[in-house]
Amino acid sequence: MFQHTALRYTALILLAAGAFAQAVTAGYFGLEVLTEILLLAMLVLALDMVAGFGGMVSLCHGALMGLGAYAYAILTTKAGIAPPVAMAGAIAITGVAAWVIGAIGARSHGIYFIMATLAFGQMAYSYVFEAPLFGGDDGMGGIPRLDLTLIGLDLNDSRSFALFCLLLLAASYGAAVLILRSGLGRSLIGVMHNEQRMRALGLTVWRIKADVFGLSGMIAGLAGALAAQHVMYISPGPLAWTVSGEALVVVILGGLGTLVGPMIGAAAFVVLKHEVSNVTSYWHLVVGVLLIAVVMSRANGLFGWIEARWGARLERRLSDLTRKSDAEEVPTDA
């Protein structure tokens, strides 16, 4: 089951504080980068849920995010539905689509599952790319942002929008943690460890997989609906498999199955990309070599490496501290 260790809490607090500070102080470009990070973090969070805890390595999460974006775009611009309803609709549509993909792919494992998800993602990509209704590869613009002036937030301002995304990322993280700690999440982990035995115990395995995939899809859909609002324009590009591939890279780079790690990975990846592409147009080379180096270090991504190095030590120090400060308090079980 997903556990919050002292290190994970520390990382979360640092992340949240860093993001908040950036949201408050950054210039325009910094805010764009921050929002990009937050949305990528949401996507990789969704991906880590299924890949890290269910062994369902998906190469269609980019497409799911794109689906959420298109759903939101079409619902608002073509169907004239109010943005909040459209957002809920986009999340629901993406969730259903993901549920179906999860259900169909439930029988496949490993690379076959990867390819099955790739197939669905590419189908969506090809369809959208060529469909004149959705603007084809030229995309479609004029997508409105949510109107939150009622609560005093003007989302057309980059700063407010970044804060809004940060808030929703926090909510998504909370949802992901709750799901992973629920019966469903436990069962998912059981399935990842031994699917045959779970079935023999009486669990309808495909349902579990589909349900979690659907829930993960909803988070991806939310990320998509936000991305559509962020850019206020949507094109098929983000549906392409390479986007899913990059998301997967970020998850693994950050630390598969740690939830926190992939979010750190998202920040590292986006910042790195921007920094390097400022210096050279060959940023692929730099990122590629760096990726190889990280993996060759044999850790479970950046965060896994940190956990392996400092996790236990920090845990000990913190528990020492708490024991000293409030000795009489009953320790909660881990």
Binding site: E32, D137, S158, G237
Partner: protein, 369 residues
């Protein structure tokens, strides 16, 4: 007065070669004509990576943070679509140096967006009538299945059928997923057409032209198309397979006028390359900016207004902006690819007169003053 110019171009990804040519052209124009105006220019380059969200972030940076007075560049129509609302809303003039989607100067036009390159329909429209005048009545068309592909072919079809020609078959091939054009070529061959008219660009153009030739179709089924098919940037990779292919484009390096001769030699000296249509688009984008500053414009509003009225003689001939759409008005050149001194060369067969694009749904405030 210093004018801050933001260059928004792809320097990595599939269109990096285009971005480099446009940038070189842009710089060349500033070097050659910069002295004609009082204004001085400072350039800021940002790489779009051909990704709309990235481009949008970079555009925001240029507009809001660097506070540029004018922007230029944009290769892909998708990127243009992504930044369009921002630019329109912020009121920063943008000189489009490539992206050719018809909507940019049609339904989605903006007083702040001026296009110095071309529109998809514009390049192909004159070819319909011209081809019919050459006595060809039945044509098979092929293009990649994406918006630009459809707009290019539609431009041609419109005038060709209006002139009395017949489209006997029309195929759109999966974009960037078609490695093998064999199946489509066999279909074209079986269609009973007298000629084939296509739009392909980049890697697809190379594969297409080579495969067309390898099937030996050129003899009985001459190949025509939008000039990007045999653009100087790619034609040497196509090799002899491109010989005899007749296409139309708004620029080829062999256009015979003094401005072009000077431009070609200057560009050759600067980069060691023969300029492509992309280079000239960059060159003319900078020329347009210089012309606009000559009127005294230096801030966003005045520049936008001035850009809508520029006209000058350049390597492509006489250019002007149609203030109704902000699209360029320019002649189109029909040319044949022929063997030349240094590899393949372009023999201009005809210069088709300039005409303004239809409004395409563009409704825009007229130019002020």
């Amino acid at each position: 007065e210093e004018v801050k110019v933001g260059l928004l171009l792809p320097f990595s990804g599939v269109y990096a070669a285009l971005g480099n040519d446009i940038e070189a052209g842009f710089e060349l124009a500033l070097e050659e004509y910069g002295s004609e105006t009082e204004a001085t220019f400072s350039l800021m380059r940002e790489d779009t990576e051909v990704k709309p969200p990235v481009a949008l972030a970079k555009a925001k940076k240029l507009i809001l943070q660097d506070k540029v007075d004018v922007m230029a560049g944009i290769v892909s129509s998708g990127v243009l679509g992504a930044v369009r609302d921002l630019i329109d809303g912020a009121g920063v003039p943008l000189i489009v140096a490539n992206a050719g989607n018809d909507e940019a100067t049609g339904a989605h036009c903006s007083p702040f967006i001026t296009r110095m390159s071309f529109s998809n329909g514009q390049v192909n429209r004159p070819m319909g009538t011209w081809l019919f005048d050459q006595g060809i009545t039945k044509v098979f068309t092929l293009a990649p299945d994406y918006a630009a592909g459809r707009q290019m072919i539609d431009g041609f079809t419109e005038t060709f059928t209006a002139a009395g020609g017949e489209i006997v078959g029309q195929e759109f091939t999966p974009f960037q997923k078609t490695q093998d054009f064999g199946p489509f070529l066999a279909k074209a061959k079986a269609s009973g057409a007298e000629a084939v008219y296509v739009f392909y660009a980049g890697g697809e153009a190379i594969s297409f032209v080579k495969q067309y030739d390898s099937f030996g179709l050129k003899a009985d089924l001459p190949l025509f198309g939008s000039g990007f098919l045999t653009s100087p940037l790619y034609v040497n990779a196509e090799g002899p397979a491109a010989e005899g292919v007749i296409t139309a484009l708004h620029y080829v390096p062999t256009i015979d006028n003094p401005e072009n001769a000077a431009f070609v030699s200057a560009f050759l000296q600067k980069t060691g390359r023969i300029p492509s249509e992309y280079a000239v688009q960059g060159f003319d984008a900078a020329r347009a900016l210089i012309e606009a500053t000559k009127t005294g414009a230096s801030d966003r509003d005045s520049l936008a207004n001035a850009l809508r009225q520029v006209h000058f003689d350049g390597p492509r001939g006489t250019l002007s902006i149609d203030p109704a759409t902000n699209n360029i008005v320019q002649p189109i050149y029909v040319y044949e690819t022929v063997p030349g001194e240094f590899g393949l060369s372009q023999k201009v067969l005809a210069e088709l007169p300039a005409s303004a694009d239809p409004l395409n749904g563009c409704a825009m405030a007229p130019v002020s003053n």
